[in-house]
Symmetry: C2
Subunit: 597 residues, 2 copies
């Protein structure tokens, strides 16, 4: 039976020592997030993840969801009670403004909790996760009445939320969508169409489900310029806020998926369902992007969560499983064999996952902090800089953390040999569950295109230039520090690769856009590596300082320094390979006629 | 519904144009394998794979195997009939000597057929595959009586075979095994113990199952020096060759696995089962290695097979699925959107899988040819050289083809977006099935250790020196050929990396064995890349020649040259990253105390 322990200590170290979280008291909600409060929130969140969510992970996988002939959906045993514990703990509204029932705490804190929930039970954690995404979209684009009607109930957890984008013939290319909205004359619309892959589309956890749906208003322009966003509750809401008549939306069937069996992935049928416009007509894609950006960060966090839990279980197995002897002589001569953690190839695998996890966690919290600054700072310049970073790093957090998160789950599974392939041990589930994160909220190839086609050139490349400058300044400021040399040296080489790749695109992608497309995924990973290398350099700086002043933490800090050196020596140099692929351009990639495939 | 088309044309091109298969008429069985015969065998094998095996792939996954209370196991609907078609076609004995009922054709040919079967239906293909492995072990180590008793029936397909190695506490480290063999006084032994993960351990396909089992004879030395190999039939065999009394071996339960559901993976209980020694007492590991080496090649082939079928289905989807427009302007303006194959990131993914598949197929057939030469040549020197190569490349074919085969299945699944995650489309199954190949017959980390600890230093590094020399000679011989420059140039760089890595181990691994262990997996992949780069150079040479003399093949040959250049530009340079990791040594990998994990 796999287990999960939330990395509370690591989050605290990152917030306190590395990211200067508590130096942000100027931001709304941050002064309330005092060190004591942060520690209490994380500790409670960890308890929830470890004792309520994690124990249901396997049962969710085995049992899955069931759709009854009347269209209702039953979630796995225990999910309902666990969801209520989650909701009643106030977790849904952790960073929602107090006026809508939330606690107004930083999103950064919420992001840390999301990692815990995703690591403990991805399928279950998705129900509140999607609700938070829907709340975010309503808060930004909804009318005051819509906010008052829906958000407090969703924050309370009495109602949940969904996002309805995909249709059978239309995933990435939302311009193709067919779901139609016809004005009813009273300000509401009648929606008709079919949506697929709708996570948490129907279930038994809440008394109402608030669907956010994109559709085309009759007569609207073709393509993405004619898309509007609607709110369509499962049950219409009475003027007093109670739940009224059933709306014309229902679950047509459940998908049979590779993983996340505990989450109900629905085909949703809209048969003249009543909906209300959210934001302006034909500006639905804009509103959707708010939801998607938040959701993309959350999905990146899921990748990390699965990587972490897979790592923890691989470590436990590697310490326990006796097989063979160390190359340097028996380490446990009293036993029939040594635990496999003595073998360098096992150790290499564990180090690789660990070195990723700690840097990815830093990157995740750093990016969430940018979101807080972008939304809460009173300084327009600071807001803009943070918003630049948030835009730049969102596709990286989504794409890189889920690509590597999945790969790490596979590597962790590998540690178990044949036992990893058997469902009883739970490693297969981590792999199967982690797989979805590379796909939903925009497949990772789309993230790469978003990065290179939208985020990179935006405002003349301002965000990337600022990032390159920040990393370069860090290296310059610490280049003479001998303790940091093992980090700043490789980081400089990686940064040069990133600069080289950026330059190459500037010179070669405008005239030939395929050069951008052919190098997009490599560029996303290149930026991710540099960002994680930068995180490691900052972690190392903090670890050196902490080690000097806090003897009790010396061993833990030393472990960080070793792990960071492993990253710098063995993982960061991948940037050179990524650069060489980018510079190969699109020629051989695009040369074959379609018939040759 | 996914489909499969066996790559007959490509195999023919590799055998005829690249590997000089028909120039080997001096080897036993090769003169019978005339061009006509080879083409007929491949065409028939393809038909079998496409029309008999492939259609059952999904039903096998959905239905899985069932164990009834009496211990009998029922395979999925249709498997029995398909297995009989397979057996009756004479496929089991394709390369088994004629005196035991086989056709005596080259193993190379059998290997091509194994790829077809693995691509069409991995779970079903494993039943005959394991039988072939057991036959190989009996032919090398069995007594004449054992060969006569078991092999013809297995070749005929009336009986199948298994390998019984793993026990609950003992996988890689076979020295720990506990299954006991007690002499009965009549030349037979009584075996008692539990074996796990036994593929095809019990089923309804054949009238008897011939288990090859390793066990420790009472009083034998501890560790691997006290292991003996036994043959234990499910039903004892009467003197006239008919099936007699039930033996004391039974299936205790079936494992619940991530994939290959159609294959019965059994816990096998030996309760005083009667068995007979195969080969010498306490030399069982030796005998097992014959079986394992053959099986390891076959597992590498499975990785390729899954990569190929996943690629084919991703191509079909990418041509069909309409989404977005090409960066260079609409390619299908008459449609609502372009097929996604126009997008560079999709194309890059497909090219990457394709460039691997074609080179891996070359490497697979080249290695199988070494096996034929090693076993069939009359020239001792030639035999030795081929055996050197076979030993060197077996862990590479197993480790690299399955690591990449799985990764490719994942990439192919990614092309489908959300549809890839839904079981209906079949891509999830390819991923789940391909996953096992990285694990069984020695997890890939073990392959890497076998390469670096055993195969590389053997005979003073003779095999590797010969290989480095062969590739260097090829580059020298063709270095002036302008058409081959795009291949030989990058190949030289990769070869230098391989030489550098080999040298580094010679200088740093003897004094500190952990340096070998920490770099083993990178070295295995480095050698794999060079071997595939070498295959591409040879394919390119043949394609250039063929293109010049055969206008009808010009387009196909040009596609090969483009694909090979893609490999040389984008995939082969990974050798530099592998080398840099190897040179990082074991320091940071091994520095942390176990408690720090």
């Amino acid at each position: 039976m796999p287990s999960y322990r939330a990395p509370v200590e690591d989050v605290l170290f990152l917030l306190n020592d590395v990211l200067g979280f508590h130096g942000r008291a100027n931001l709304a909600g941050f002064s309330e997030a005092s060190p004591d409060v942060v520690e209490a929130v994380l500790t409670e969140g960890a308890k929830l993840a470890e004792t309520v969510l994690a124990p249901l992970n396997r049962v969710g996988d085995q049992e899955g969801c069931r759709r009854d002939p009347d269209g209702s959906v039953t979630t796995p045993k225990g999910f309902k009670a666990a969801y209520h514990t989650y909701a009643q703990g106030g977790w849904m509204g952790l960073s929602v403004p107090e006026e809508y029932g939330g606690q107004g705490l930083p999103l950064t804190l919420n992001t840390a909790i999301q990692e815990f929930a995703s690591g403990a039970n991805l399928a279950l954690g998705m129900y509140p996760g999607l609700t938070q995404g829907a709340v975010a979209a309503l808060l930004v684009h909804g009318s005051e009445e819509q906010k008052r009607t829906y958000v407090p109930k969703m924050v309370e957890g009495v109602w949940t939320g969904t996002m309805n984008l995909t249709e059978p013939h239309c995933g990435t290319d939302l311009g193709l969508l067919k779901t139609k909205a016809v004005p009813n004359g009273d300000g509401s619309y009648s929606l008709t169409g079919t949506k697929i892959f709708i996570s948490a589309g129907e279930h038994d956890l809440a008394e109402n489900i608030v669907h956010l749906v994109i559709a085309r208003i009759e007569g609207a322009p073709a393509g993405t310029k004619g898309i509007s966003l609607f709110v369509v509750p499962k049950f219409l809401v009475n003027p007093d806020g109670t739940v009224g008549a059933r709306n014309g939306v229902s679950c047509g069937s459940l998908e049979h998926k590779m993983g996340i069996h505990g989450n109900s992935t629905c085909v949703m049928n809209y048969d003249g369902a009543t909906g209300w416009l959210v934001g302006e007509a034909n500006r639905g894609l804009n509103a959707m992007f708010v939801m998607m950006n938040e959701a993309r960060l959350a999905v990146g966090v899921q990748g990390l969560g699965q990587s972490e839990v897979a790592y923890q279980n691989a470590v436990a197995y590697a310490k326990d499983r006796l097989q063979g002897r160390a190359l340097t002589g028996a380490k446990a001569p009293e036993k029939a064999a040594d635990p496999i953690i003595v073998h360098p190839d096992v150790r290499r695998t564990l180090m690789q996952i660990r070195a990723f996890n700690e840097a990815a966690r830093g990157l995740m919290l750093w990016t969430a902090l940018q979101s807080d600054i972008a939304h809460r700072s009173e300084d327009a310049k600071e807001r803009q800089a943070a918003d630049d970073y948030l835009g730049l790093m969102t596709p990286v957090v989504k794409g890189v953390l889920t690509d590597r998160g999945f790969a790490n789950a596979v590597e962790a599974q590998q540690m178990f040999g044949g036992h990893g392939y058997i469902e009883e041990w739970g490693m297969s589930q981590f792999v199967r569950d982690a797989r979805i994160a590379m796909i939903y909220e925009g497949a990772n190839g789309i993230q790469a295109m978003d990065l290179i086609g939208r985020k990179l050139p935006k405002d003349g490349g301002r965000a990337m230039m600022t990032f390159l400058g920040e990393v370069q300044t860090f290296i310059k400021d610490h280049g003479e520090d001998a303790a940091l040399k093992p980090f700043t040296g490789p980081l400089q080489a990686a940064l040069n690769d990133l600069q080289g790749a950026t330059m190459w695109f500037m010179q070669n992608a405008f005239s030939k856009p395929d050069n951008a497309g052919a190098g997009a995924t490599d560029y996303m990973h290149l930026l991710g590596l540099v960002a994680m290398g930068y995180m490691w350099a900052r972690i190392a700086r903090a670890a050196v300082a902490r080690k000097a002043e806090d003897a009790a933490q010396a061993e833990r800090m030393e472990a960080k320094l070793v792990t960071g050196r492993f990253f710098a020596e063995r993982m960061l140099p991948e940037t050179a390979l990524r650069l060489s692929r980018i510079k190969a351009g699109a020629d051989t990639t695009m040369a074959l006629p379609v018939e040759a495939f």
